[in-house]
């Protein structure tokens, strides 16, 4: 049955397996996005002493399908005063970066001789930052396209916020790559194997901390959700959107959350590894390969839940506080962090 696999040339097998991986990974990510929305609603409800959506299917587990159907069936209304081209472009621009980032993330070790990463780029992290910085366009375009003041304010805020925190984010991961000596994400995971305290979160706690905070800001999650700021800006940059276009913004936010969690897991929490039972070595059997993927997904889900938890705990920053924290606290700390680790590495060498 699988004989045809062995008869493929190298180029053919690359294409075939890449397509399969892309398909499976995209499907998984979309599923995770839809259930992240449910998780958001349920966790929010529980924190507020409520129950949350529990009517569609057992324990409300079919809720995303009802939501999806609803957003597809709603009228796709385009207000008369918008700038049409950008208005149509923005939701796609908001959704895409989140999905593109997944390409370089190693979500498992091996599965039947295939490395469990779509593109094992040598410049994985640079690619990620390149893509992540595209994320701001969706929001800025939406704010500009809406041609009305609140979305515009949301878009402006968002661009200022994302530009400032991207710097801090970039600075925070530099020590990781000074330690790894490589920009390839698979190498970073290899670095974190062996021993209970191999994970970089123990070696670079400050980097981890800065990365997570900057990540919250990049994904526009509370306490950094100034682009949306429902109570100040009506609905923020997506005020004029409805139906599936609104849903795309919404899914984009969750896609970004999942990608940020995946990045954090890869860079600081050991990726698909666990420091015991030999789970930190690349898999040789199919079972262990699947187990590695499971470990990775479990870590990502835990982080997503943490992000949701934080959202329902912290109030929003004021805009000047946000800028102050970004430029006058996090960037200097990030720079100091680099210098300190550079000195440590130099002393060791």
């Amino acid at each position: 049955m699988f004989e045809w696999m062995n008869q493929l040339t190298e180029a053919q097998s690359l294409v075939v397996f890449s397509l399969v991986k892309i398909g499976v990974v995209l499907a998984t990510v979309m599923l995770m996005i839809s259930y992240a929305v449910v998780a958001e609603r349920r966790i929010c409800a529980f924190i507020q002493d409520r129950i949350g959506p529990n009517r569609v299917g057992p324990w409300g587990l079919l809720q995303p399908f009802a939501d999806g159907l609803k957003s597809f069936l709603k009228e796709d209304f385009v207000p008369g005063h918008v700038r049409k081209v950008y208005f149509w472009l923005a939701p796609a621009a908001a959704m895409l970066p989140g999905l593109l980032t997944v390409a370089v993330i190693p979500f498992g070790s091996n599965l039947g001789g295939q490395k469990m990463v779509i593109a094992d780029l040598n410049v994985g992290i640079l690619y990620t930052f390149g893509i992540v910085s595209l994320g701001v366009y969706g929001i800025v375009l939406a704010g500009y396209a809406a041609n009305s003041k609140y979305p515009f304010l949301g878009g402006i805020r968002s661009s200022a916020q994302m530009i400032s925190y991207e710097v801090a984010m970039g600075l925070s991961v530099i020590p990781v790559f000074m330690l790894a000596g490589d920009l390839n994400l698979s190498r970073v995971i290899e670095l974190q194997t062996g021993g209970w305290f191999g994970w970089l979160v123990f070696k670079l706690p400050l980097s981890f901390f800065l990365f997570v905070i900057a990540g919250f800001a990049e994904t526009n999650r509370l306490p950094f959700d100034l682009p949306e700021a429902e109570n100040e800006l009506v609905g923020g940059y997506n005020t004029e959107y409805s139906s599936i276009k609104f849903a795309l913004f919404f899914m984009g936010e969750y896609a970004n959350m999942i990608m940020l969690s995946a990045m954090t897991v890869t860079l600081f929490l050991g990726g698909w590894t666990l420091p015991f039972a030999g789970l930190d070595r690349p898999a040789t059997t199919l079972t262990v390969g699947l187990l590695h993927i499971g470990i990775f997904l479990a870590k990502v889900i835990a982080l997503v839940c943490f992000m949701i938890w934080v959202r329902w705990m912290l109030p929003r920053f004021r805009f000047d506080q946000l800028m102050d924290l970004g430029w006058r606290r996090m960037i200097p700390v990030g720079l100091a962090n680099i210098v300190i680790y550079a000195v440590i590495l130099w002393m060791r060498a």
Binding site: I43, A45, F46, I47, Q48, D49, R50, I51, W309, V310, W312, M313, L314
Partner: protein, 166 residues
């Protein structure tokens, strides 16, 4: 009065203690018993004396207490009550002494549950009961007739029993 602000320590200025405390609070609420009531399945138990929908009652012997005096119809602020007074002849089985309504309608879409009908009724024949969520699929369905009102009202245990000794 001037309140001195104590200077924050470095640890406090890091913002982290507040975050950790916040996480604790939200975690506590996460695990707490939920206050949500699953509405259509669970419902509030209303206290005695609650003024819900008005229904007609019968006395212990199954007689219709209403004598169709039309005072409730007259007093009803939203004009929800409609009565056709000349009732059927006295039913020998129940031995009804006075006249009774031929038709008695309360439009529950109009009714405001004010309780004037109960207050004005000289025969204590109409009472505001505990029903508070009335539903129907059409407007016509929400106009409750004599039969339905009597059925929903049930028997009222009256201490006076006006006609018992006549």
């Amino acid at each position: 009065m001037k309140i001195e602000r104590t200077a924050l320590t470095f640890w406090e200025r890091l913002y982290l203690p507040a975050v950790i405390a916040g996480l604790k609070v939200t975690l506590r609420h996460f695990l707490r018993r939920k206050v949500t009531m699953q509405y259509p399945e669970e419902r509030w138990v209303v206290p005695t004396g609650y003024r819900g929908a008005p229904y007609l009652v019968k006395d212990q012997e199954g007689r219709v207490k209403c004598v169709s005096c039309q005072l409730c119809e007259f007093v009803c602020p939203p004009k929800a009550i409609k009565i056709l007074p000349p009732g059927p002849a006295v039913d020998p089985a129940t031995g009804n002494v006075e006249k009774r309504p031929r038709e008695f309608e309360i439009n529950m879409l109009r009714c405001i549950f004010c309780g004037y009908c109960q207050e004005v009724c000289p025969e204590e024949a109409i009472f505001l009961m505990k029903d508070y969520s009335l539903t129907g699929k059409s407007r016509q369905e929400m106009v409750y007739g004599l039969e339905k009102l009597l059925e929903l009202g049930g028997t009222h245990l009256d201490s006076i029993q006006k006609w018992k000794h006549k």
